[in-house]
């Protein structure tokens, strides 16, 4: 089974909490550019960062990242 990350809800979850990309980046200990790249779907984060992002928003990885079977 081959899975593909087709999108995510990071931007929605971040803006709902009134956070800037820089604030979320600081919380995740990554650069602001990395948060932006994840939000626009240019970069798929590592499992560790995906879990950290999901936990930060009190959610699960599958609720935050949209995954489809190829």
């Amino acid at each position: 089974m081959e899975l593909e990350v087709t999108g995510n809800r990071i931007r929605d979850l971040r803006t709902a909490q009134g956070l800037s990309q820089a604030q979320l980046a600081a919380a995740m200990d990554v650069s602001r550019q990395t948060i932006n790249s994840i939000e626009v779907g240019r970069y798929t984060p590592s499992l560790a960062l995906a879990v950290a992002l999901a936990r930060y928003f009190g959610s699960t990885v599958e609720e935050v990242f949209h995954v489809e079977e190829r």
């Binding site: 200990d29 550019q33 990395t34 984060p45």
Partner: protein, 131 residues
């Protein structure tokens, strides 16, 4: 060692290496009787190091390349290094073929190819056992 201490050490390792290379260039040039060239190279490396540190305050990418703290920039660095290595491989093979065609032994390109090949195989063996 905490993550922030590790990042600070990584951050300063790059500039420290650049300064060290400046001193090495100076010593090597002085040993060959070219102190002015050595001094020029040292000054170049000092200026490069200062510029690198200043730019890192404004650029997340440069800061990430130095402190190794961002997984995306680490991945970019890895791919950029692979691209640079690919260019070097082409240049080394091209140089070796050119030297062989001229009736020479192919050195030093053949030796560079041997070093690259041995390091690559060694790295694959070590990394395979770890992953």
């Amino acid at each position: 060692m905490s993550k922030s201490v590790k990042r600070k050490l990584f951050f300063w390792a790059g500039p420290a290496f650049c300064l060290l290379m400046g001193v090495v260039y100076l010593v090597a040039a002085r040993a060959s009787g070219q102190p002015a060239l050595g001094l020029m190279l040292l000054i170049f490396m000092v200026v490069f190091t200062v510029v690198l540190v200043i730019v890192s305050r404004y650029s997340e990418t440069v800061r990430g390349l130095l402190d190794r703290g961002d997984e995306r920039i680490n991945q970019i660095d890895l791919r950029a290094t692979a691209a640079a290595a690919s260019a070097l491989i082409v240049a080394i093979i091209g140089g070796a073929v050119y030297e062989l065609a001229r009736g020479h032994s192919g050195a030093p390109y053949t030796w560079l190819a041997v070093v690259g090949g041995v390091v690559y195989i060694g790295a694959v063996v070590v990394l395979r056992s770890k992953r």
